[in-house]
């Protein structure tokens, strides 16, 4: 209905990978979220219907995974790792800096809808700590100054597209 052809193709392909339809739920949810930005009620209803599940079951799965969200978030989702390696190398300071600079807290979005901030568990980049992940891109070995640059870059990028 409101999914792109690319999504439909991926969805069709995914169905061939698993013995039952419901097994495709998690990857399908991720694709849908990438495309729509969040998992709206319509998306939940549509996927439930496609996978022979009821909406409650889909919501149960969404609530289990922290990377699946049911409310819109910013265009750039900044995920700051504060697990042990990053914490030792200043992850917490980075998080505080982001909070201060963007004026938002954990799991909040700026009023212009550009950025949202999230404190996350290990993102597997301990060798280059402290690290953050913005959507699917990594930024490593950060300091507060570097963090400013990264944020400014995204701000510029966002402005260009808009």
């Amino acid at each position: 209905m409101f999914f792109s052809d690319e999504f439909e193709a991926r969805f069709a392909d995914m169905l061939t990978h698993y013995p039952t339809r419901r097994s495709t739920l998690v990857p399908t949810l991720l694709y849908a979220q990438d495309e729509i930005g969040y998992l709206s009620d319509e998306v939940v209803a549509e996927l439930a219907q496609r996978l022979d599940l009821n909406e409650l079951e889909v919501r149960n799965v969404i609530s289990y995974y922290s990377m699946l969200v049911t409310k819109p978030r910013g265009k750039y989702n900044i995920q700051v790792c504060t697990n042990i390696a990053c914490m030792l190398k200043g992850g917490e300071e980075l998080l505080d800096h982001c909070k201060h600079k963007l004026g938002i807290g954990h799991k909040e979005t700026t009023p212009d809808g550009e950025f949202s901030l999230e404190e996350v568990e290990c993102i597997g980049a301990c060798s280059w700590a402290p690290a953050i992940q913005v959507n699917y891109d990594f930024h490593e070995n950060l300091t507060v100054q570097k963090m400013d640059e990264v944020l400014d870059d995204y701000k510029k990028k966002g402005g260009e597209i808009l």
């Binding site: 009821n54 909406e55 409650l56 079951e57 919501r59 149960n60 609530s63 289990y64």
Partner: protein, 784 residues
């Protein structure tokens, strides 16, 4: 399966392979505590209370998920196990509020019991408890998050048991929470199974909420008064200022044919009994208006007028309409009263299934009717018409459980895509109204196929379905009221090896009303009106000309030949769509709980007790006979039984002929046998079971039940078993010859899960749930 031997706490025991350790322990009386384990639901292993030590296994194992093996050595009471249990209780109590004094589960809470048995009095935890406010999910379901111990019983019983899947688990770890299907509320069958099964007070009932405490109630196991499945419901009653108030219904002791199942009606819809619109005083029409009167006035007037009309115009000028919600004893008594006292065969009731045709078809063949228990154990079930999920919730539960636990095969032939098709091994959607053709086809008439081919039901699929059915042995066939008259015989004679049959009627005692002869041409036990019947021998001369049906009574009243009408617990004006003014020239006496359409046109209205307020027996649609016990009490009403006897008395009839009371032995109620506790009770049960107990009152239904058992062959069942609270199957094949009737006299009740004839109109709970908005309008279901 082969038996395995294992040792538990030094005791040797044997159990079949595949048995769960927890069940094996239970079989020798060793209790292993658990929360999440529930028999007949899938295994969860969530609560960790059932940890036991199994030799050669490095860690403690959950007894609820471990299958026994040969030579296993288990310790369920070692220090290590006790310590583990203590810690589990401590962890569970870590976030569980200590609000037992205000919690509805207090006093019957499994966590309370466990804390008492295994827990520590003090906790190591100092963290603040995580509080969330209580949520109301529906008028009958409340959820208190902090009390939840996440055993997932509710989720499983709702999904697996009820096939509703309205509850789920959201989030993970410590923040896991039970969630309803509509985010902040529930949209489901409102059966309350989740509340019943909750080991703590996390899910509580809106109807019972804060009313009383478990130990304050008396519990009376009786039979539900709504649909025709005859669930046993245990009513909790408490003394109130007008008698005994029913505050709760459940079946936690799992006795009765329904095990622990109850639908919304059995669990909550007893509240009609305490409706403010209930009649509690006799009404007599004076100057065109119904005005309050005394019982003496009302009985005297009814008796005088009935006697005068009988003398002046003969019995055929009086019509009698019985109910399918009064007890067998009352129906039998009414049948006897009409024939013996009024001298008329104008007796009828609202028919919802063709039992006389079934009696005729099965005449002389016993063992061909299925009980409700058979549905749970049959290898295959055929369902023709009806939607049991809505109309026969227990039948649907039995079918679902059988399919789930014993892999029974369900075949469904229906004009609608009913919900039970999800359990079906074969489903044929036939055109609406083609049920009779489906029966003809199943019986072997291939010409009927042309009427059945429809949507997904092709010729080939239908033929394949019939072949599969013919290959099944021990089939249980449940058929709806669309199958009537000759179709019943056709179905019974179709070639299904060892098939057993169930005719699906709509009301609690529809079957009983039919069995007890509320027909113008049949006596109790489907006996015809011959002069030499055993009833004629017992009762004396009886009228032998068949009487009038309800519509014929209305026509006769209009024509002026029917001078009086006696309605016991029925609402023929609404149900048969009769013109209320047809009876304006007749003398009408109505016994009912409420001012129904029929009661409004009466000359005398007598306030009646309902089935929860009297004793007797009910027969469910399968023919299972069960006790009805008095639970509630409302001042100002009388049982229909007493009212019939009193009217007979007021007519100058010798009551002893109507109710054979006062027989039996001398009046020893056990007092002469010493004061040992319980002895008098045991003695009276024994006397009653052997028919020796003196029926000292003309209002004692047991006196009539004696006569029923003596004269109706299918009711020759074990009295002791019945009195012990068990269901006894009555076999319609042992009854009389039955009769052919006009099929148009059968009118389905159209009740769904949230409506129940007249009673449903006055049930606050049934009307408060949002799912009820789709229910049929009261005028469409307004009946008994």
């Amino acid at each position: 399966m082969a038996d395995l031997t294992l040792t538990v706490d030094g005791k040797k025991l044997t159990a079949p392979a595949g048995t769960l350790l927890i069940e094996a322990c239970k079989s020798v009386g060793i209790e292993v505590p658990s929360f999440c384990y529930y028999p007949n639901l899938s295994l969860q292993g969530a609560c960790r209370m059932c940890l036991v030590k199994i030799e050669k296994m490095p860690k403690l194992q959950t007894a609820c998920t471990t299958v026994i093996s040969e030579g296993m050595v288990v310790a369920t009471d070692s220090d290590e196990v006790r310590q583990a249990r203590k810690s589990m209780v401590e962890l569970l109590l870590g976030n569980h509020p200590l609000d037992c004094p205000v919690c509805d589960a207090g006093g019957e809470c499994e966590l309370q019991d466990m804390a008492f048995s295994y827990g520590a009095a003090e906790s190591k935890f100092m963290e603040a408890k995580n509080h969330k406010d209580e949520q109301q999910w529906s008028p009958v379901v409340y959820f208190d998050r902090p009390r939840c111990i996440l055993c997932y019983r509710c989720v499983r019983v709702c999904g697996e048991g009820m096939d509703v899947w309205a509850l789920g688990v959201q989030n993970r770890g410590v923040s896991s929470v039970i969630a309803p299907n509509k985010q902040d509320h529930l949209e489901c069958e409102e059966c309350g199974m989740c509340i019943d099964i909750c080991p703590v007070g996390a899910l509580t009932s809106g109807a019972y909420r804060y009313k009383t405490r478990p130990w304050e109630m008396n519990h009376i196991g009786t039979t539900c008064t709504h649909c025709a499945d005859g669930c046993k419901t245990t009513l909790g009653v408490r003394r109130s200022d007008t008698g005994m108030e029913i505050v709760r219904g459940d079946n936690r002791d799992k006795s009765g044919i329904n095990n622990d199942f109850l639908c919304i009606k059995g669990r909550y819809a007893f509240d009609f009994a305490h409706s403010t619109e209930r009649l509690t005083q006799p009404l007599i029409r004076k100057d065109g208006k119904l005005s309050p009167a005394t019982w003496e006035e009302a009985f005297a007037l009814a008796g005088k007028n009935f006697a005068e009309i009988r003398t002046a115009h003969g019995g055929e000028a009086i019509g009698v309409v019985g109910s399918s919600r009064t007890t067998n004893e009352e129906n039998y008594l009414l049948s006897k009263f009409a024939r013996m006292v009024l001298g008329t065969n104008n007796v009828d009731h609202h028919r919802t299934a063709d039992f006389p045709a079934l009696a005729a078809a099965l005449r002389g063949k016993s063992g061909q009717t299925a009980s409700m228990r058979d549905v749970l154990s049959a290898p295959a079930i055929l369902l023709i018409g009806n939607n049991p999920t809505e109309q026969h919730p227990l039948l649907a539960w039995q079918i679902r459980s059988n399919v789930r636990l014993r892999r029974a095969k369900l075949y469904v032939v229906n004009s609608q895509p009913i919900k039970l098709r999800r359990q079906a091994a074969g489903f044929a959607q036939i055109p609406a109204g083609a049920e009779a053709h489906a029966v003809a086809f199943l019986a072997g008439d291939d010409a009927a196929l042309d009427h059945l081919v429809h949507q997904s039901a092709t010729r080939e699929s239908l033929l394949a379905l019939r072949d599969k059915l013919r290959a099944e042995t021990g089939l249980v066939v449940a058929f709806s009221s669309e199958i009537r008259g000759a179709d019943v015989a056709r179905l019974v004679h179709s070639k299904f090896a060892g098939a057993k049959f169930i005719a699906l009627a709509d009301y609690a005692n529809s079957r009983g009303a039919a069995d007890m002869g509320l027909y113008p041409d049949l006596l109790p036990g489907y006996e015809p009106l011959t002069t030499d019947s055993r009833f004629a021998q017992e009762w004396g001369t009886l009228p032998t000309v068949p009487g009038l049906t309800v519509p014929a009574m209305a026509a006769a009243a209009k024509a002026g030949t029917l001078k009086a009408l006696y309605v016991v617990g029925a609402n023929p004006v609404a149900r048969f769509g009769l013109d209320p003014f047809a009876f304006s020239g007749s003398f009408v006496v109505v016994q009912d709980m409420f001012l129904t359409e029929t009661a409004l046109m009466a000359d005398i209205v007598l306030p009646a007790a309902n089935a929860y307020e009297k004793s007797g027996t009910f027969t469910n649609t399968c023919g299972d006979l069960q006790l009805v016990k008095k639970a509630g009490e409302v001042a100002g009403v009388k049982s229909d039984f007493e009212m019939i006897v009193r009217i007979a008395d007021a007519m100058g009839f010798e009551v002893r002929k109507l109710v054979p009371f006062g027989g039996g032995t001398h009046a020893d109620m056990g007092q002469s046998r010493g004061a040992q506790s319980g002895e008098a009770d045991r003695h009276s049960v024994w006397l009653e079971a052997h028919g020796l107990e003196p029926r000292m009152s003309p209002f004692d239904p047991v006196a009539i039940f004696d006569e029923i058992q003596r004269l109706v062959p299918s009711y020759h069942v074990s009295r002791l078993d019945l009195l012990a609270g068990n269901d006894q199957h009555t076999d319609i094949g042992e009854a009389g010859p039955g009769a052919a009737h006009d099929p148009n006299l059968i009118i389905p009740a159209n009740d769904d899960l949230f409506s129940s004839g007249t009673l449903g109109r006055y049930s606050h709970t049934l009307n408060s749930v949002m799912e009820n908005k789709n229910a049929p309008a009261p005028s469409e279901v307004g009946a008994d």
